[in-house]
């Protein structure tokens, strides 16, 4: 019986967190005035599973707390009371509270008790009121003091429905504590061995609970079998000793020839159920043994933080398929290799191309395993918007589009905080107050739209609001005030909008709880850039603003353009390349010292010579014909001069920092087909090297 349950704790936590997410999203979707039965059922089921799991693993604070939540839900479900907005709030708070408790326990700490206790009181107040409204079963009063006799008469098809009485008895025993439960099996109805159908359940049980237990808790255990069993609950009178006597005499009376205790029932051939009952019996017998098994490991062990993902079976199946194909290709090539002569060259080439295809497909499906729909990131926003809206007194409608868009799990985890920040910002600064909206002739309710879609090898996430839009005058004034831009500048509206991404910029007039805490959009931008992504803002006065985030789908693979500079091969991320053109040296103009610019159609773009900044070539060497790769990083176009363009290919990104250190201008390394290492150019930091000579920043220092 002593299975180490702690191995399942991680699964329990994950499932519970999922359950809480379900509860939360159902609660948020729910319209209290018109509650769908299915919604309440979903919430109830989630709560019930958490309670059950917590009980199984001995996380009593959680299971006790969930129980009161569940009780109220049950009453709503049963139609005894209707859903009210305040219940929704209470349930949401409970979800938060449970989440906190669970994560405390996941970290190996004792869960906090204050908050659950507060909420529990609230629940109990609500529930207490209910008991006044409807006549309390007088039974429950007695049962609370002494205990219960529960007659369980399962219908014969109980076992067919997948229910196992033993489990329920065990749960009951956990509820009431060891030594407080006695199980008696009534075998009267068991037919002769010859006519016995082993799949029928013909045993009845009488359970005697000798501990004060609310009947609701007992009922909850038998909840799943309510329809498959006749259950009667009789309160136990007097103290437990009397009760036991009463129970046994009662039993003797009811089942004439003797009440058989479980082990005897075993002999009576109902194979699956009888041992179950006997197990409960035998376990219950060493009474008053301290309940230790469940609690000890929890306190001592700190749960190893291992994150996991759920992968749909389709993805795994396709992976298995691919591996199968790969094995076939491998054996074919192996055979070919055993006796090879030139006549079979064509076959070899065919095999190799098949191998290439297999490998690529396999790589793609492996990558897909890490892909999760962005709804995981979006799902927290309804709650956030609801709470924040209440706090700010703004009516906000949240729209999410493209929730099924998939992206890498790592990217998703890292994009969460920036997204929260953007949504908070939009709600706090973007949307006007209700009065202002009405005055501006807009609908009373502001809208925040989260939109995700794929574009090329990127995922684009838009956070849009239909608020007032960015106030260019204010931004500019602030930027001048803070010395970020000179006073007499000629910035275009777009450039002004992008000023909000500069460090130390916050237009919030009052620092509020919600945003404007000093960590501003520059942090958001930095986080996104750390993911190889970019962010831009589009805004129109009075219409709203949209933040557009572009991110690579995965951090592990990159579509690269291979270029040659001197003898070295470098890789440009394909997504950042705008165009590539062949130029002659004479079309480059010196601005200051070693800095070049070039006129490309109607704009001047700064030029970086890779051979110079990487110190690959002596300055005296002159090359006349070169390739210019125009890239866009930080919304700024830069021309990078290389010797030649090679092919394009997908490259696997390897860390350079792991064994070396960060190199300016390089974001990582990869291994080319011939086994050599090629470095990947970091467009945004190459851009930074030339920041001081950007044409529109007259205060610039000289380039180093």
């Amino acid at each position: 019986m002593s299975v180490d349950l702690s191995q399942f704790h991680q699964v329990f936590f994950e499932e519970s967190f999922e359950g809480l997410d379900v509860m939360e999203s159902e609660l948020l979707d729910m319209d209290p005035s018109d509650v769908d039965d299915e919604t309440v059922n979903n919430i109830f089921r989630a709560a019930h599973s958490i309670k059950g799991g917590a009980g199984t693993f001995g996380f009593m604070p959680v299971s006790e707390f969930t129980h009161v939540v569940e009780t109220l839900l049950d009453e709503i479900r049963a139609g005894k009371r209707s859903m009210e907005p305040r219940y929704v709030d209470l349930f949401l708070q409970s979800v938060d509270c449970l989440r906190g408790m669970l994560s405390d326990m996941q970290d190996g700490n004792e869960p906090e008790t204050e908050r659950p206790a507060e909420l529990r009181t609230e629940f109990e107040t609500i529930l207490g009121m209910a008991q006044e409204e409807q006549p309390t079963e007088d039974a429950s009063a007695g049962g609370k003091d002494a205990g219960w006799i529960i007659d369980v008469k399962p219908h014969t098809d109980l076992l067919m429905t997948g229910n196992e009485p033993f489990r329920m008895f065990r749960e009951l025993q956990e509820l009431v504590g060891e030594g407080n439960l006695e199980v008696l099996a009534n075998t009267d109805d068991i037919p002769e061995l010859t006519s016995l159908n082993p799949e029928d359940c013909t045993i009845h049980w009488r359970l005697t609970v000798t501990a004060a237990t609310p009947v609701e808790e007992i009922k909850a255990i038998f909840e799943w079998v309510e329809d498959e069993c006749d259950l009667t609950y009789t309160p136990l009178a007097g103290d437990s000793a009397n009760a036991e006597a009463a129970a046994s005499s009662d039993d003797a009376a009811s089942s004439g020839d003797a009440a058989l205790v479980a082990p005897v029932a075993d002999a009576g051939a109902a194979e699956s159920t009888a041992p179950a009952a006997s197990a409960v019996q035998s376990e219950a017998s060493p009474a008053d043994k301290p309940v230790k098994a469940a609690k000890a490991p929890k306190a001592s062990k700190k749960t190893a933080e291992s994150s996991s993902i759920r992968v749909s079976i389709d993805k795994v199946d396709s992976l298995i398929n691919m591996v199968g194909e790969l094995v076939i290709t491998q054996s074919m090539l192996g055979q070919l290799g055993q006796d090879f002569d030139l006549s079979r060259l064509a076959k070899l080439q065919e095999g190799l191309s098949q191998l290439e295809q297999n490998t690529r497909e396999l790589q793609e499906s492996v990558m897909k395993i890490r892909m999760m729909p962005i709804s995981f990131a979006f799902s927290r926003f309804p709650r956030l918007v609801r709470d924040l809206g209440g706090q700010l007194g703004k009516k906000v409608l949240l729209e999410t589009i493209g929730e099924q868009t998939e992206l890498d799990k790592t990217v998703m985890e890292k994009i969460n905080d920036p997204l929260v920040h953007l949504v908070r910002n939009s709600m706090d600064h973007g949307l006007e107050t209700t009065e202002d909206r009405i005055a501006a002739g807009k609908s009373e309710e502001g809208t925040i739209t989260l939109n995700a879609y794929h574009q090329g090898g990127n995922i684009v996430i838009e956070v849009a609001d239909d608020g007032a839009g960015l106030n260019e005058d204010r931004i500019l004034k602030k930027a001048i005030e803070k010395g970020l831009v000179p006073e007499n500048n000629s910035l275009t509206p777009e450039e002004i909008h992008n000023l909000i991404f500069l460090p130390g910029f916050s237009t919030a007039e009052a620092v509020s709880d919600i945003s404007g805490r000093g960590v501003g959009m520059d942090v958001v931008r930095r986080n996104i850039q750390a993911l190889n992504g970019s962010i831009e803002v589009k805004s129109q006065r009075g219409v709203g603003s949209t933040f557009i985030i572009r991110l690579p789908l995965t951090l592990a693979i990159l579509d690269g353009q291979l270029v040659r500079v001197c003898e070295e091969t470098y890789i440009f991320p394909l997504v950042s390349i705008v165009e590539s053109i062949q130029i002659h040296r004479s079309s480059l103009n010196h601005v200051t010292g070693s800095q070049y610019v070039m006129q490309l159609r109607d704009e001047y773009i700064p030029i970086v010579r890779l051979d110079e900044i990487f110190g690959l070539r002596d300055a005296s060497d002159t090359v006349d014909e070169m390739m210019l790769v125009v890239v866009e990083g930080d919304n700024e176009k830069i021309g990078i001069v290389v010797d030649d363009l090679l092919g394009q290919q997908q490259v696997v990104i390897k860390s350079l920092e792991q064994n070396y250190q960060k190199v300016s201008g390089i974001s990582g390394a990869t291994i080319l087909g011939d086994g050599t290492v090629a470095l990947i150019i970091d467009i945004s930091s190459i851009g930074k090297n030339i920041v001081p000579v950007k044409r529109k920043q007259p205060r610039s220092e000289k380039a180093a």
């Binding site: 390897k654 070396y660 086994g675």
Partner: protein, 173 residues
């Protein structure tokens, strides 16, 4: 002589252990590194340049999928540059750093031998003035009447990180 040696014997706590050292030759001197830090020994292959790296970092190679930087120990020690030949070897060393295990290769002239050396035989190097390189010398030891310079792998490979920041100081003991 006996007394003098006692003064510079290593602290009590390190006495009594034996360690194996892999030794290699550079410019006629024999150097030793803790054999447990040696992952493998490879032939020289042309690495990929790292832009703006110190001259002694020759670049990075692909070691079965891992990007491993290669340091030329001759240049690191300020010795004259030698041509890379077929016998030039790269010793791949691994050591624990704050960011987990790091792997790095050092280019040496030739691998020599493996010695078992008791810690108490190790002498501290004399305090050298203003010499950067003394920091990663763990000790000196006599083997068969010949001096072997024992190197502290972590210090040797970590030091590079500080130096590349250009604010390197020699005050550390």
């Amino acid at each position: 002589m006996e007394e003098m040696n006692k003064d510079i014997i290593l602290p009590e706590s390190e006495v009594g252990d034996e360690q194996q050292y892999l030794t290699f030759i550079m410019s006629g001197e024999e150097y030793g590194v803790d054999i447990l830090a040696v992952q493998e020994i490879r032939g020289w292959e042309e690495p990929t340049l790292i832009p703006n790296a110190p001259s002694y970092i020759r670049g990075v190679i692909n070691l079965r999928g891992t990007i491993v930087p290669i340091m030329d120990l001759r240049l690191r020690f300020g010795l004259s540059e030698a041509d890379y030949t077929a016998t030039t070897v790269v010793i791949i060393l691994k050591f624990d750093s704050d960011n987990g295990e790091r792997v790095m290769g050092i280019v040496v002239d030739a691998v020599s031998d493996v010695y078992t050396i008791a810690d108490e035989e190790t002498r501290r190097p004399p305090e050298l003035t203003e010499d950067d390189n003394s920091d990663f010398i763990k000790g000196l030891v006599n083997v068969n009447e010949k001096m072997v310079i024992l190197l502290d792998v972590a210090e040797l490979l970590m030091l590079r990180m500080e130096m590349s920041d250009a604010n390197y100081s020699v005050d550390k003991d």
